[in-house]
């Protein structure tokens, strides 16, 4: 049994940590990135590529330098700590996971993403499919050996700036059939995009399309397993991101308790506040533990993988709410301001529960997978 990181991974951690720290020194910088055309800094993304951060999310089998559950978690925990808004989730993880899971992996596209030359997004969510892997209304039909797609996709993170998009669409069957979906590669120029910012500082888009061409990547069982695996990878990454955010929320709150004086003494000397800080600390260790388990079992069979990811994401949802709300409450009024960073960490932490399955969704999936 060994809970420490290997030397190689420690180095990855140190390099990426320094890089993020230098580029995301304060929350104003993030605000500037968000105001850019794409909602992030292309320059920073290019540097991430040069430094090998994107390839840290991809297995060596496809030209990357990492790609394991542990690698994903190291990088995303640091993303959480700096509240980084670059397209690591959409391009770096979700798209690469699909492209590498195909029978004929699209190694050329993966390499272009790693090199920072290509941006991609995974458009699976729809206005009414909540978090389901198989509930797909968008339609695909074959016309003269060409696949034509019709429908709309929602909440596609960084979808507006993507060059190519992977779209899940129903080939046959009813809207919630497990079978009958396919994944298609589409050129984003053919899609109508309505971009917007999310409340937690990301760029997202609503997509609509009529009779556009798509290249079939996979269908049926393979497509469903691909969606499930990709969503699990995303849920794992977001869980690790949440650990980073929780730690920062805790540290900022503790610092504040030491400096803020009321009734003639620092408010951290009050026992009612100290006990709540201990509750936060304890729950963060619980989440950290669950994420460690999920990351180290991510390469095992899909049942173990998904069960442990669901345990982690469920806990992230529950504890995330505690940490976000308590960080704001213990700070008091200052945490209500746009200017102060804790507000932005809290918003991201809460909205992580609205992505890739919330606490309820993952609790129910955990139930199924552990036959409760």
């Amino acid at each position: 049994m060994d809970f420490s990181l290997s030397e190689e991974r420690k180095m990855l951690q140190e390099t990426v940590a320094r890089f993020f720290e230098n580029n995301y020194k304060d929350i104003k910088k993030r605000g500037e990135y968000l105001k850019m055309t794409d909602g992030f800094s292309r320059e920073f993304w290019k540097e991430s590529s040069n430094l090998g951060v994107i390839s840290g999310l991809v297995s060596p089998a496809f030209g990357g330098l990492g790609g394991s559950g542990e690698d994903i978690c190291i990088i995303f925990e640091l993303i959480g700590k700096s509240l980084c808004i670059e397209p690591f989730l959409s391009s770096g993880l979700l798209s690469n996971t699909i492209l590498s899971s195909l029978n004929n992996p699209k190694t050329d596209l993966i390499n272009q993403i790693i090199e920072g030359k290509l941006l991609m997004s995974f458009a699976h969510m729809e206005m009414n499919n909540r978090y389901e892997d198989h509930f797909v209304e968008t339609k695909a039909k074959l016309e003269k050996e060409t696949w034509k797609l019709n429908g709309s996709k929602s909440f596609v993170i960084n979808g507006d700036s993507a060059d190519k998009v992977i779209i899940s669409a129903r080939i046959e069957g009813k809207v919630n059939d497990k079978n009958g979906i396919g994944l298609f590669l589409v050129d984003n120029n053919n899609i109508n995009n309505r971009p917007y910012n999310t409340i937690d500082g990301y760029r997202s888009t609503e997509m609509s399309f009529e009779n556009i061409n798509g290249e079939l990547l996979c269908k049926d069982d393979q497509a469903l397993e691909c969606v499930i695996k990709t969503n699990s990878a995303g849920a794992l990454a977001l869980s690790a991101e949440a650990v980073g955010i929780m730690q920062i929320c805790f540290d900022l709150t503790l610092d504040y308790l030491k400096t803020r004086k009321q009734f003639g003494k620092s408010i951290g000397t009050f026992q009612s506040i100290q006990h709540r800080m201990v509750d936060m600390m304890l729950e963060i260790e619980q989440v950290r533990s669950a994420v460690m388990l999920a990351s180290s079992t991510f390469e095992l069979n899909s049942t173990t993988r998904d069960k442990n990811v669901s345990a982690a994401k469920n806990l992230v949802g529950r504890v995330g709410k505690l940490i976000a709300e308590e960080s704001i409450q213990l700070h008091g009024g200052i945490a209500m301001t746009w200017e102060y960073s804790v507000a932005h960490y809290a918003k991201r932490l809460i909205m992580i529960d609205h992505l890739m399955g919330d606490a309820d969704y993952h609790r129910d999936r955990f139930k199924l997978l552990s036959s409760i």
Partner: protein, 398 residues
């Protein structure tokens, strides 16, 4: 990272499991499973077996008759004891007093008491809490007045677990009344057969007799029974309280309780269907299982750090808090699972050899009683509120 047990650890687990299978009598594990009352002889049988095997003092240093196990092995040992439904090892002599004597006892005390603990010859009790000294332990009032060749002890201890079986008790007593509380305390070993010692049972809310009051009236205690130096007992007491406790989270107990909960909620019915099929109830079970899963890893992280010589500090306190909350939640859900079947209370059901028809399923009998009994775990050993004070003081720098 690697969460697997090594081959060596797995072999050790098999060795412990095999030994328990061979030496633990069936009737005894059945009693434990059914929450029947254990007699003094039941505890002693198991502890004598451990003693013969050389495993009773499982966390003492080898030179004093300990096992030399590392933290992972200790953790495995604790897990297997619970899985086998063995009685718990009565901790007062071997787990609590032993390490204090090894660290602070005189040569004479070590030579006399340690082998007796190893051979399970004395039943020890703990004399810490008093009616007016619970969480604020240093405010204790029992006095030991220097009378030349002996101390004269007067006062009252309380919550003395299994004190009615005890031959000896280690006590915190006041030897100096004129200094601030922590500075005037001494650590004294008292023979329970001394004239002036009286044990009175306390019946707890579940109707059971496990804890006692111990009264001291002009009890003469020889000077050689003082551990370490006079008025420095508080240091020894704290050492005992913070002594390495890998099992503080009670993970094995909660795991076995969770399995029991699943069994009961499959058998309990709601609208003609198993309760476990009720989405709200099963959601509570699922989130409890997730909390336990996370705590198991948290505990293993702490255990694993301990094998590398990193003494668990505030982690022990955090694990104690979470461990008690998780355990109490299992007893709460078990109680809820029974519905009205939780109502009947037949104290005689927990006597050995009781063979009448239970009311409702046999497993229902102990559940409500156990729920009430388990309220104690977030109170004793430093209440959860005290644990939070400890963590805040140790790690917040406030």
């Amino acid at each position: 990272m690697n969460f697997e047990y090594s081959k060596k650890d797995e072999n050790f687990r098999i060795e412990v499991r095999e030994w328990l299978r061979e030496t633990l009598p069936h009737y005894l594990s059945e009693k434990v499973k059914k929450y029947q009352r254990l007699t003094k002889e039941d505890y002693e049988l198991f502890m004598n077996n451990l003693s013969k095997k050389g495993w009773l003092a499982w966390h003492w240093p080898v030179e004093y008759g300990g096992t030399g196990w590392n933290a992972i092995e200790k953790h495995i040992f604790e897990e297997e004891i619970v899985k086998a439904s063995a009685p718990r090892i009565v901790p007062f002599g071997v787990n609590m007093l032993g390490p204090v004597l090894i660290e602070f006892g005189s040569e004479e005390q070590k030579n006399y008491y340690l082998p007796r603990i190893l051979n399970n010859e004395d039943w020890w009790a703990q004399g810490y809490s008093e009616p007016g000294a619970g969480s604020d332990l240093a405010s204790l009032k029992t006095t030991a007045i220097d009378k030349g060749d002996h101390y004269l002890v007067n006062g009252q201890k309380t919550w003395t677990t299994l004190g009615h079986h005890a031959d000896m008790i280690f006590c915190l007593v006041k030897t100096d009344l004129n200094v601030k509380p922590q500075l005037g305390i001494s650590f004294l070993l008292i023979d329970m057969k001394s004239p002036g010692v009286e044990v009175k049972p306390i019946i707890t809310l579940d109707g059971e007799h496990e804890v006692n009051e111990v009264w001291f009236t002009d009890v003469k205690v020889p000077k050689k029974n003082l551990v370490g130096k006079e008025n420095e007992g508080w240091t020894y007491a704290k050492y005992l309280l913070t002594f390495e406790r890998t099992g503080i989270a009670g993970v094995p107990n909660s795991k076995s309780a969770l399995n029991h909960l699943k069994m009961v909620s499959r058998k309990s019915m709601k609208n003609g269907k198993p309760l476990i099929d009720d989405p709200i109830f099963s959601s509570e079970v699922a989130e409890l299982e997730i909390d336990l899963l996370a705590m198991e890893i948290f505990n293993l992280r702490t255990v694993s750090a301990a094998t590398e010589g990193k003494a668990p500090g505030m982690e022990s306190s955090l694990l104690k808090i979470k461990g008690t909350l998780v355990r109490q939640k299992t007893t709460e859900l078990l109680r809820k699972a029974l519905g009205p079947q939780a109502l009947p209370y037949l104290p005689e059901q927990f006597d050995e050899g009781w063979n009448e028809m239970p009311i409702g399923p046999e497993y229902a009998g102990p559940i409500a009683k156990q729920y009430f009994n388990m309220r104690k775990i977030s109170i004793y050993g430093g209440s959860n509120e005290i644990q939070k004070n400890i963590v805040a003081k140790a790690s917040f720098g406030l």
